[in-house]
Symmetry: D3
């Protein structure tokens, strides 16, 4: 039976738990096992380029040490994606690229909700490097740090506020959550925003599941 390893590269077990919880709809009898693990070497949250770089090699080591059939790197910066792909000859997917691919199939223009304003230039570079800049309606920041994401009501209000501007001012028809661990808010967010919301961890695990079912291996 196939197994997907989901690596949360920050050391916050609560984030891993949130990710795990949001993946419930992707678990079914006979379907792949989905194991969510916390990268102990990671920082509590990934907010800076230093945080991103610090987990690149640990992620690849974690990938190389696990005999899973596919791997998900559960941080919206897709840290270490290309190194991990060089490490194993099996599918390794990032949650940001997976969210973009899912969103691109839900509507023409998507908006991204960043945690911090400083992530936006990194998002723009990444969206461009994937060739999706024509699809990006906008990128707006919540202005809270990873630790601030724990206050459910406040976070949802902020996401709804940013998402509403993406929808109304920028023309986004679908909104991507630019952070792992908020997938469980999707139902409430979709209710309040009235447009689809993409949780990147769900997107990535669904994609890994498809790749495994169809027998694809290493991603180029």
């Amino acid at each position: 039976m196939a197994r997907i390893l989901v690596i949360n590269p920050n050391s916050s077990q609560s984030v891993t738990t949130s990710i795990d919880e949001a993946l419930a709809p992707l678990r079914w009898p006979g379907g792949p096992t989905i194991d969510c693990v916390t990268l102990k070497e990671g920082p509590p949250g990934i907010e800076t380029q230093a945080h991103v770089e610090s987990v690149v090699e640990p992620i690849a080591r974690r990938v190389g040490a696990d005999t899973a059939d596919a791997y998900v790197i559960a941080c919206f910066s897709d840290p270490g994606l290309y190194l991990a792909r060089e490490t194993v000859r099996k599918p390794v997917v990032g949650i940001a690229e997976s969210a973009i691919l899912l969103a691109a199939g839900l509507a023409y223009r998507f908006g991204i909700i960043a945690i911090l304003p400083t992530s936006i230039p990194r998002h723009l570079r990444y969206v461009r490097s994937l060739g999706f800049e024509h699809r990006l309606a906008g990128d707006r920041a919540l202005g809270v740090g990873v630790e601030g994401l724990a206050d459910r009501a406040a976070v949802i209000d902020k996401i709804v506020a940013a998402g509403s501007r993406l929808r109304d001012e920028d023309g986004a028809q679908v909104v991507l959550l630019g952070c792992a661990g908020m997938g469980r808010y999707r139902p409430e967010l979709e209710d309040r925003l009235g447009i689809p919301v993409v949780d990147p961890c769900q997107a990535a695990v669904a994609r890994a599941t498809s790749l495994l079912a169809l027998g694809y291996g290493k991603i180029a």
Copy 2:
């Protein structure tokens, strides 16, 4: 239990059977039921714009008359996609757009194998309208009609020839089969080409499965 209706818009039962056969890896206990049906009103093969247009309304009627949870239009022209989406408030996916989205996650540049040279301008317009022109390495035709697709050995040789040129001359890192019903050739094609091959019907059903699992509804 969820059910996906796959509509082959041409009237060739043998194509429907081939599609059905290639979907075996997407069937599992507890997973969605996948029903493949033939559109009796369709032409034997969809080769011209007249063929495309002739099935648009029949497809939408078929979609509207079936209580499936998601729908796949199994022709690489994605005929009637927007009309079908207007008809039901559930996911309707085309196989061409699904193949492109899957390919875009397998490698940077994809090539398309068209059946006939006359399909190529239609492909180019469609790829552009989806915003993926930067990803398209090339589009090359087999030069056989739909009826000629029955000769397995000859077809595979022609696909390998076209795919090799896409790979070597155009820089394609993954190849899309621009036709329904050839998914069962994937293993042999991947062996001979050495790069991933996308069967659009598999891509579409896998995508529909993900959309259902994640609770997405109507596509914008």
Copy 3:
């Protein structure tokens, strides 16, 4: 003497009459005859994808049954353009593509005035498929249905309001009317907006006239 057949695919004779009236400047002694006809099978107005698809085959039949020298499909969705082109070996032009080509020669960035907000995604896809997305400054909707277009003063006020925002907020240097039958308002609209306004029916007939004069046949 050459003859151009202008097909209004909706069944509103009053729209056909308006189109016909706006074409007066393109009629001259010795020039092509311009015949405007109403597609009886069409819906009263073309507002939905179902309306668009319902006229595709009737338009092609009408084209195939008429020995005109060139054909104009007078609906801003350019319904059935590719099917009609497959039907006759003579020029068939759509009014939307013609309006875009004319506008692209009048200024760098054009804005589109849609009738309904639901038309905007269709416009965006179409503009992209033609490769003009860099020229599109914006697309704004009047928010009135086709039937509401009869109230001249109200419609002109709404067009001026939308056009002013396209000009001032979006940077449009020329405005396209995203609907047939409003060409007679051009003088008043240009007076009030201070920038050129393109009536797509005028644009299409002028283009058909040029193609005939220069001896071009079927459009690829």
Copy 4:
């Protein structure tokens, strides 16, 4: 009665005569008068940037001194287009931009036939500045100077050779003649190439005629 002034900015009366001859299909009773004049100050042919620049101000003076209703600058470098537009509040069109707009309505991808290889970078910059780079299939040079264009048979053979490569290797569906004065070869070229050929002078005069008929003034 409207009058269009076509200015051949090189001093070769034979080129002006050729241009004039190719415009016959655009003259009809009641249509605009089309006057072709030679810019005496111009060089015998426009092959270098120095040639281009040397005619910019003379063209504008010629435009300013003539009470025509519209003006065509009949050199494929569109020299002095923006200056001429600043000089009169009437339509001034260049033949290169007009050829591109006409070609863009005849097929998706066009090829350009340059006289000299040194013109190609200038063409590319210009096509880009107009936003049509996605439509350009290729640009190939004849490798003859303006004076060499007089030998009809040799020139046609060279154009057919370059056009065939544009069609077969670059995917051009329509070919633009990147030079004034070759419009009379269109029938033979289209016969031999099997795809439409655009004479930029014809394209420009047809466009000017349309702009006048529809009452457009200064181009932004």
Copy 5:
């Protein structure tokens, strides 16, 4: 010892003096001599297309008559750049293209501050012809003529106002001064705007210095 000739194509000696002053940081013992000269034939300021064209040939003559090792055309329209490059087999750089290249290395998206609104379409065409449209965040005009640039305090206030909108509304991360002679305001502007400011004359002379040091000749 290498020498760079900086040609101010307007006849305002005060502008030349300002340019010269802002180049102080690029002068060092052993570095290239930087000579700033005023083009006597030029208009007092370059505001219209007629002004631009009037200096094209005088600039090329000035370039051809001077044995400098590299040349800078110090007007943001880069007038006569291609003609000057055809005249000498040494580097000739324009200040607008140089400013764009420098800005593209300082941040992802740049904004341009135009003197007059009428310059903006010219800027857009030029940015596109260089292939940098994806990097352009916006272009906003001061609305003062060249003569109005003398009032230091007023000009700085206006630049800060336009630059703030480019930064806050358009997302510019760096601002280009779309005019020669304002480089000495850079420190104050950077202080008030909080983002880098590019003086095109400094950018061009720095680039010329690099090209000379590395032994590059004629620019293609």
Copy 6:
């Protein structure tokens, strides 16, 4: 007096020596001191993603530990660029981005010479993320490893072969060396290829020199 630190992230002292030698033209009395150092922690050559990632943090530490005024990361993968920029508030430039910016000022279309074929997808992603894909004519590999670069005659022959194809088949007007340490071959390569050749290390140090002279700080 300003100082630029050039960090060769591979541990090959001979490469550092070659880089240093090629920088001679950028050293002048009174100009910045240019110190080239070898990153001892680096691998002998940077050929894989693992090599790239392994030097990211060591480079940043080296940058953080040195009080230079500007920093150059002398590997064509620009490893650790964003991390180093987060580390110090001074200019940090990569040699690949610097080579692209220099090339973009030398001609319209540039070609890249990769060492190994596996570097090409990485180059394409990077060129796209910088927004220069329209300028890239092609990317061709030598097919030798870093160690094979020592054989001067063989390497030059291979570069000339790849550069000739970039020039003749792909339309490159300038060629970038996709590797550090080959700058000293520029004169011979330019002689044989007849077009400019960009050594990325020279490009980066020239750019750093300009940024320092003009007082720019941290790059966004």
